[in-house]
């Protein structure tokens, strides 16, 4: 289907704000932080001009921003927040709360390094550090995907009652303009119906939510056997496990409605005949395809696997995508200190027990805004090709592309 709507040259932050506006968010609470600030500025402008019928709640911190969003979601509003780095870290407690309370809140994470030392530039340590909070995490490769993923995120979140975080690289996308197709409001309205809350606070019918919950199931005052804490945790895990299906279905329907299909949890680039696969996440997937072009010209059968959905981690999809690979080179813009890059660990975990017996190499790149050039990715793959041996499937620790 041909693309509809109008194309404008937008930076990633503007694309995020437009995505929120098209999703008709009703409550926005955010605290400005580089490189996310322009998202909050743009949205407050939309509200001020009357272009977006939403309440913009000015808060004194990120913790409060997400507290406002969870409260708004509890009373039945579609809520939006955005943050980066220290701001996201400061939200940590409320991230757990939003997921535990099963609220379909949305958060745009503009990926930025965390101090000390101070650094405002891009890496993915901030969102990776929040991977165990129970949120769905989707990573955008470009500004179009930021906008499209936000619209899809509300459909997903409001179907499975799990909050969704769409992550995009600070500056590399947030401050870089590129063509973005803006769908019409009518088409988005058809795709994304108004939020039907599963919890509503009503003074006429008062209720308590998320009270102290004991370990074991327990009969409440009305004689109903209620879940214990652990059953509620099981249900959150089950919701994330099952959300893959919803994520794909929503992506396919998005494609039918707007002509841009998101029918997989992954981005596959020339994997059909590839025996060497580069794995990356976010905008680095774009640069990786340039590296693969160069390596293909040199006669290597190289493909690129981009992780679009990081939580739920699409284990089966990853195994299938990597089944022909002999060498997997994983580039991480994050590190789990003392081990390796997070996506590398997840890939290894997914491959355990599968028939894939590939050499895996992990490179830590691009921390604190360090530029990652295609030629550096090419060098790393060439080095990995030289070192790839059956008796040296994996290394204890990752290699770093830096001056040490």
């Amino acid at each position: 289907m041909a693309e509809k709507g109008s194309t404008r040259i937008l930076d990633g932050n503007n694309a995020a704000a437009q995505g929120a506006k098209l999703s008709r968010v009703q409550v926005i609470a955010a605290y400005p932080i580089t490189p996310q600030s322009p998202v909050t500025e743009k949205l407050s402008e939309f509200v001020e001009k009357g272009e977006l019928d939403a309440q913009y709640v000015a808060v004194e911190s990120e913790h409060s921003a997400l507290a406002v969003c969870t409260s708004a979601s509890t009373v039945g509003a579609r809520a939006f927040t955005a943050s980066s780095s220290h701001g996201l870290a400061y939200m940590h407690e409320m991230l757990h709360w939003a997921a535990g309370a099963r609220l379909p809140v949305f958060l745009a994470c503009v990926n930025r390094a965390i101090g000390a030392p101070w650094n405002v530039l891009n890496d993915q340590q901030d969102s990776i550090s929040q991977r165990d909070t129970g949120w769905i995490q989707i990573y955008a490769r470009n500004n179009q995907e930021i906008l499209d993923s936000i619209i899809q995120a509300y459909r997903i979140a409001e179907s499975v009652y799990v909050p969704v975080m769409v992550c995009y690289d600070g500056f590399v996308l947030s401050h870089t303009e590129m063509p973005v197709n803006l769908p019409s409001q009518e088409d988005v309205d058809r795709f994304l119906p108004p939020y039907k809350p599963h919890t509503i606070l009503d003074p006429a019918n008062p209720r308590n939510y998320n009270l102290v919950t004991f370990a074991n199931p327990r009969v409440n005052a009305e004689g109903v056997l209620c879940h214990g804490y652990m059953e509620l945790r099981y249900l959150l895990q089950e919701a994330l496990q099952n959300s893959r299906e919803t994520i794909i279905k929503v992506g396919q329907e998005f494609g039918e409605a707007f002509g841009r299909t998101y029918s997989s949890t992954l981005w596959a680039n020339r994997l059909d005949d590839a025996n060497t696969v580069i794995v990356a996440m976010g905008s680095l997937v774009m640069e990786a395809t340039v590296a693969a072009d160069i390596l293909r010209e040199a006669g290597h059968k190289v493909g690129v696997l981009g992780l679009r959905v990081f939580r739920p981690f699409p284990k089966a999809d990853v195994v299938k995508a990597l089944e022909k690979s002999r060498l997997i080179v994983v580039f991480d813009k994050n590190i789990s200190y003392g081990l390796e890059g997070a996506t590398c660990s997840e890939i290894k975990s997914a491959l355990y027990g599968s028939s894939v017996r590939a050499v895996i190499r992990n490179f830590i790149v691009g921390l604190g805004g360090r530029d990652v050039k295609a030629r550096e990715l090419v060098d790393a793959v060439n080095r990995s090709l030289l070192s790839a041996k059956e008796d040296d499937l994996t290394r204890e620790y990752p290699e770093w592309i830096c001056a040490i």
């Binding site: 194309t7 530039l121 500056f171 401050h175 590129m178 063509p179 050039k373 295609a374």
Partner: protein
């Protein structure tokens, strides 16, 4: 006109290099290039301090997200920045160095195997009153030199991009500055 351009802008904070990078991306998209990107140099920027920005223009979607190493075109809004080696760093053979300067390209004394274009955009803008908070804003004017030297985009698409961004009166002054700078641009081919 080529299929792919990497343009690096050098100016001082407040001169509008980033805006120029964006206007050019818009004009190139109108010209029919499917792939355009425009970005500031990432991180902190201060008024008066040297800054850079970049524009990429291609027939297909731009997949490169790293910083430009080997530009085809370098545009310098303040000629005093030429003393820094990084300004012309990586500029390819046969590419264009475009400088806001009253000097003839031959008098700039910049070594290299690239072509040079100069125009006194500061005087044009000063005469037209394109001054914001005490700074002569030459960012749009120099687009005239860019078009003259590279022919990468047409003046009519530059005009559309300008009209899409500014009010009618502001667009008029900026377009006058671009037209005058286009005319007075001096070219020195040596690539």
């Amino acid at each position: 006109m080529q299929d792919y351009y990497e343009i690096r802008w050098h100016g001082r904070g407040g001169q509008g290099a980033i805006t120029a990078a964006k206007i050019l991306a818009q004009a190139a998209y109108l010209e029919g290039y499917q792939g355009v990107t425009a970005a500031p140099s990432f991180g902190a920027e201060r008024r008066g301090a040297p800054i850079s920005a970049s524009t990429r223009i291609g027939r297909q979607t731009i997949m490169v997200v790293s910083q430009i190493e080997n530009p085809n075109v370098v545009v310098v809004l303040d000629h005093t920045l030429l003393k820094y080696d990084e300004v012309t760093s990586g500029l390819i053979r046969g590419g264009w160095l475009i400088v806001n300067s009253w000097r003839h390209p031959k008098e700039l004394d910049v070594p290299g195997d690239f072509n040079i274009a100069t125009a006194d955009a500061t005087r044009v803008c000063s005469d037209l009153g394109l001054v914001v908070a005490g700074v002569t804003v030459v960012n749009t004017a120099i687009l005239g030199s860019f078009v003259r030297a590279t022919e990468a985009v047409s003046m009519s698409n530059i005009e559309k991009a300008i009209r899409g961004r500014f009010s009618d009166s502001q667009a008029g002054i900026n377009l006058a500055a671009i037209a005058q700078t286009y005319e007075m641009t001096r070219l020195e081919r040596r690539g």
